[in-house]
Symmetry: C2
Subunit: 200 residues, 2 copies
DNA sequence: GGCTCAATGTTGACAACGACAACATCAATC
DNA sequence: GATTGATGTTGTCGTTGTCAACATTGAGCC
């Protein structure tokens, strides 16, 4: 233990950015997004209140990094599911990810972070989405209507995730089924068709 | 002008709650949800910084009132669409509402407001949803699988709204179509079936 | 008409926070 | 071994949500 990794009292922390992000990830799920303060993170990391500004431009930038982590995790989960069980498994994995990391999902898709403004975030987000759209394109082809269908499929799982997180589906609709079964059976009720270019 | 309505200098404001909510509605869409501060509202209303606490327990309660307004508007739009154009029109109206009031929609469905905790909010929210689920039940019946299909239909429009608000559907998928046309054609790619109780 | 009181609005204060500037400390490099 | 850039600290400022104590007003009662 020559340098620092264990000597937590050294003037320099060792790897403050990662430590802050780890603490942030925990506090995020525990306390919620809005009450997640930089100063709370510094206390957890045993560091002064202005230290984060050496690594993150501002609070939003740290949140962007957190979201980027999230998109990485989501993309990983989607690719894993695609390999194992195909499209249907991907959809279920999408919703399951949201349920497993509700606050992270809210951060990623809540809208207070405009993804376009953070280059690295935009990058990893599109990568995650490509896991989805790639698998969809392989399945439905690339006719114009097929593209609309893949948007609809994405919207379906995305919306189901949001509804479940918001507890907006009543217990009556749940009929006692656990998350996995409910998600599966709801998703099973939908079929996608290539939309007609002109409605008759 | 005996009492107050025009004499804005009177000690008592006249109808502060409504004035605050009006100002909040404007500031919400203009500046966004997170930067909406009680103090900014009091400045707009020409009233002292602590005045809101006579009418709202705290900031969250004022936001809850704003959200309640939103659910009222959404329910109204849905019922109007149902009367005019049936189920499909309702779905389009749902997404159109989100696009017309993005910050309001984020407030209503963003998840930082736990709806259950505010009784009045819960009330008007379920009313709005009943507009949806009622029309869906009338269309698909009330078999168990049909209920799942209506959850899926709701998830579809809800998710499409969120994706469009987050600018997550790329320009490539849009293919130049305006909002209404895009929404219509995406929604047209989906069909709902009563899910099989046991998959063969 | 005058009194009383509850509702409504104000003033002043406090703690927490994000952000910045000025300063301190350390480690790597020459 | 001195220099220097990166990293962490201290101190401060403005803003915000919230509370307590006080001020003002109008409505109802005698």
């Amino acid at each position: 233990m020559s340098t620092s990794k264990l000597a937590s009292r050294a003037y320099h922390h060792g790897d403050l950015p990662a430590t802050l992000l780890r603490a942030a990830g925990k506090l995020l799920e525990k306390e919620g997004l809005e009450t997640l303060s930089l100063r709370a993170l510094t206390r957890r990391a045993g560091v002064s209140h202005a230290a984060p500004y050496r690594h993150f431009r501002d609070r939003e930038s740290l949140l962007a990094a957190l979201a980027a982590e999230g998109f990485g995790m989501l993309g990983h989960a989607l690719r894993e599911a695609a390999a194992a069980g195909g499209l249907r498994a991907m959809g279920e994995a999408y919703v399951r990810f949201a349920l497993a990391h509700p606050q992270r999902f809210r951060l990623m898709f809540g809208g207070q972070l405009d993804i376009a403004r953070h280059a690295a975030l935009r990058e990893v987000a599109t990568q995650a989405f490509q896991a989805l759209s790639g698998a969809l394109a392989a399945r439905v082809g690339d006719a114009p209507g097929a593209r609309d269908a893949s948007v609809a499929a994405w919207a379906l799982v995305h919306g189901l995730a949001h509804l479940l997180l918001g507890a907006q589906v009543g217990a009556a609709a749940r009929r006692g089924r656990d998350d996995d079964q409910f998600i599966r059976e709801v998703l099973e009720t939908t079929r996608f068709v290539a939309g007609p270019p002109q409605p008759a």
